[in-house]
């Protein structure tokens, strides 16, 4: 299935045929240099990508365990095994670690770092040293957030709303500085990716011949560069407020807490698109490669990524419909929220249309892509509920919102990220994972996730408020179903971890192109050599012209 003649790779490789057989095969980036120092001071984007992957996976585990303790505590309406103060600290840390240390860096920095230069046919990202600096800034931010645990933890919710965050005794300054520093790591990654996409493309790779994963990472990088500085100044003002108490956000000194919400959500809404856009990129790659079909509506999907990146800057007010924001501003923000819903809908329709007339191979990445379509469609549709003004008055800050953003973040980004991991694992480590274990983990994740969060939609529309430690007895039954579902989801995620780690150790060798894909990263060895390509490939066609596509016009 993998002989050379059938593939018509995106890049013509005739020129490089000669030197491959001549010298012994070059060692891969994993074995080229040995020893810890070779990893800690590497400027190879693939190694930095793997270091980011291990760090973000570790924090995903930590925050995931916090989530399981939360759900187990909520099994009954009364206090089970932790006090109210501890519960508040646990849910705050679950939110803060998931947002700042896992979901924002995970897909762009961990997977993007590995895949972007390979897909562009470049030797490395534009600024390799800056890339390593970005990883070490991320490590400093991680240490600071762990330090908050020691200094009395944080109990303000991941949004640090004033005036509560100004008056509470918990370690708010250390946590805000941690998020402040994590912001810089995100900015550096963003700058790196924008410049790489502009300046490092292989000859012949025009903007319309780039894989859609690159388009998604480019749009994400633009948001990272344009939105994160406002988070930096917001957290800086919050720290100044707590130390010098200048009074901008403090009502006792003439300031206004709603202004803090404006500052915070101006960053945080684009941030949720930083989280989901890379997931879109992965899904575009998975669905095309595993159904052997050219993507349906390439230009529409590429343009909708950039459109989402731009419109995401004008919709932040829908987080504040009931928070004392004026009704006129609420109406304007609600209208713009519906405008941003259209490009997202176009993407989902295009992916389903790509399946038409395909030859779908049910590998694990494809299963995750199909799970993504199910969960993300529900996540997107429930977003329409919360964008409608009058419905949001009823559903704001209830479990409906919790279910919505988990459907979009866990059901969207995390499921796409897992699919991407399975898809590129052979390329990263040169080893195939166990197919049955992969499929089993997809089933467990699907069942567990839907059991956990579908029930929370009903809790929300029954009026159960968010961040409640104890609740009315009438909500108990739904909470118990949700808690059991969270255990199944946890089991599925542990199985994913086991399958991937087992693949590195004892998976059988993977060929350089196990999925017969066309884009550039599959035209080099797996795991790739240190500077990616023996000779810089010249791009001649689109990354989705699979040999199976019937060009004879009779179809």
């Amino acid at each position: 299935m993998s002989d050379d003649s059938k593939k018509s790779p995106q890049a013509d490789k005739s020129a490089s045929k000669s030197d491959k057989s001549a010298s012994t095969p070059e060692p891969s980036y994993l074995t080229a240099k040995r020893g810890l120092m070779s990893w800690l001071v590497t400027i190879d984007h693939k190694r930095i990508g793997l270091m980011y992957l291990t760090a973000t996976m570790f924090f995903f585990l930590v925050a995931g365990l916090l989530a399981i303790t939360l759900r187990t505590e909520l099994f009954t309406g009364q206090q089970d095994f932790m006090s109210a103060a501890t519960y508040n600290k646990v849910f705050t840390l679950h939110g803060a670690i998931m947002v700042f240390l896992f979901i924002i860096p995970s897909v762009p920095a961990a997977m993007g770092n590995f895949v972007l230069p390979l897909m562009l046919g470049a030797k490395d990202v534009a600024f390799p040293k800056l890339n390593l600096l970005s990883f070490y800034i991320y490590c400093i931010a991680a240490v600071m957030l762990i330090l908050t645990l020691v200094l009395g933890s944080l109990d303000t919710g991941w949004t640090f709303y004033t005036p509560y965050s100004k008056t509470t005794g918990s370690a708010v300054i250390m946590a805000t500085m941690g998020a402040f520093v994590a912001g810089f790591s995100s900015i550096l990654t963003g700058i790196n990716f924008v410049v790489t996409t502009h300046k490092m493309r292989a000859p012949g790779m025009t903007w319309n011949r780039m894989p859609l994963m690159v388009w998604a990472l480019y749009a994400t990088a633009l948001i990272q560069v344009m939105a994160t500085p406002v988070l930096a100044i917001t957290l800086f003002l919050l720290v100044i407020e707590r130390t010098l108490s200048i009074g901008i956000f403090d009502p006792a000194m003439g300031g206004d807490p709603v202004l803090y919400q404006h500052f915070f959500w101006f960053y945080s809404h684009p941030a949720v698109y930083i989280m989901i856009l890379p997931g879109f990129g992965i899904i575009s790659e998975l669905i095309t490669v595993h159904s052997r079909k050219h993507i349906f509506g390439y230009r529409a999907i590429a343009m909708s990524s950039v459109a989402i990146a731009v419109i995401s800057f004008v919709v932040w007010g829908h987080h504040m419909f009931v928070s004392g924001q004026s009704e006129l501003a609420g109406i304007v923000f609600s209208f713009l929220t519906f405008v941003v819903a259209v490009p997202t809908a176009i993407k989902v329709f295009s992916w389903v249309a790509t399946l038409y007339g395909g030859s779908i191979r049910y590998t694990t990445p494809m299963w995750y892509a199909l799970v993504f379509l199910w969960t993300f469609t529900i996540g997107g549709l429930t977003g329409v509920y919360l964008g409608t003004l009058s419905i949001d008055v009823h559903l704001h800050d209830t479990y409906f919102v919790v279910a919505h953003f988990h459907y979009v973040m866990v059901g969207g980004t995390v499921v796409a990220f897992l699919g991407g991991l399975f898809h590129w694992w052979p390329k990263m480590f040169g080893r195939m994972y166990n197919e049955t274990l992969g499929k089993l983990s997809a089933i467990l994740v699907f069942i567990g996730f839907n059991a956990t969060f579908m029930t929370q939609f009903f809790l929300g529309h029954q009026g159960m408020p968010r961040r409640y430690y104890a609740y009315l007895p009438e909500y108990e039954a739904l909470h118990q179903v949700s808690t059991i579902g969270s255990w199944i989801l946890a089991a599925g995620l542990f199985l994913v971890l086991f399958t991937l780690v087992q693949a590195i150790k004892s998976g059988e060798r993977a060929s350089s192109n196990p999925w017969n894909a066309i884009s550039l990263e599959w035209q080099t060895a797996s795991p790739p050599i240190e500077h990616n390509f023996h000779t810089t490939p010249t791009v001649t066609g689109s990354p989705y012209d699979f040999p199976e596509i019937d060009k004879s016009g009779k179809h």
Binding site: H198, A252, V314, S326, E327, T535, T538
Partner: protein, 160 residues
Amino acid sequence: MAHSDSTENTTVYLNGKLVENPHEDHHHVSPVWEFSLVFGALLFLTIMTYVVSFAGLGPASLPVAMFIAFLKGSLVVGFFMHLKYEDRFYSFLFCVTLLFVSIFFTFVLFDMKTTAELNEEAGIEYKRHVEDSAEAAEAAAAREAAKAAGAAPEPAPAAH
């Protein structure tokens, strides 16, 4: 680090036009007199900001001062930073940033103004006076100052 010769001869055509290397940047060196002219203009505009502030234009002084500052800013960005002669993408990037900044400003200030107006319409006393510790200290300091000045210590202002 072997450089492949294959990219030497592959010239890339895009819809009939030879793609000159998209990553090259031509170097522009502007003459000294241009810099001195811009510097002179900047000094003149600084004096203009002074004149505007002392001319007492009242409410119009903020927009005029902002316009002069915008002029100075565009001179610095256009000439000192060579944006005029650079690849069009850099100026596009800078304008997109200014667009996002203006979106941020207009929406927040629009929200604040309409909240104040809507509350006045509904007759709700929008800004509630909040007794705060700093203010209490200030009132205490005012009482001491009055006592030090020998005046009879009038009763402390009734708390809110």
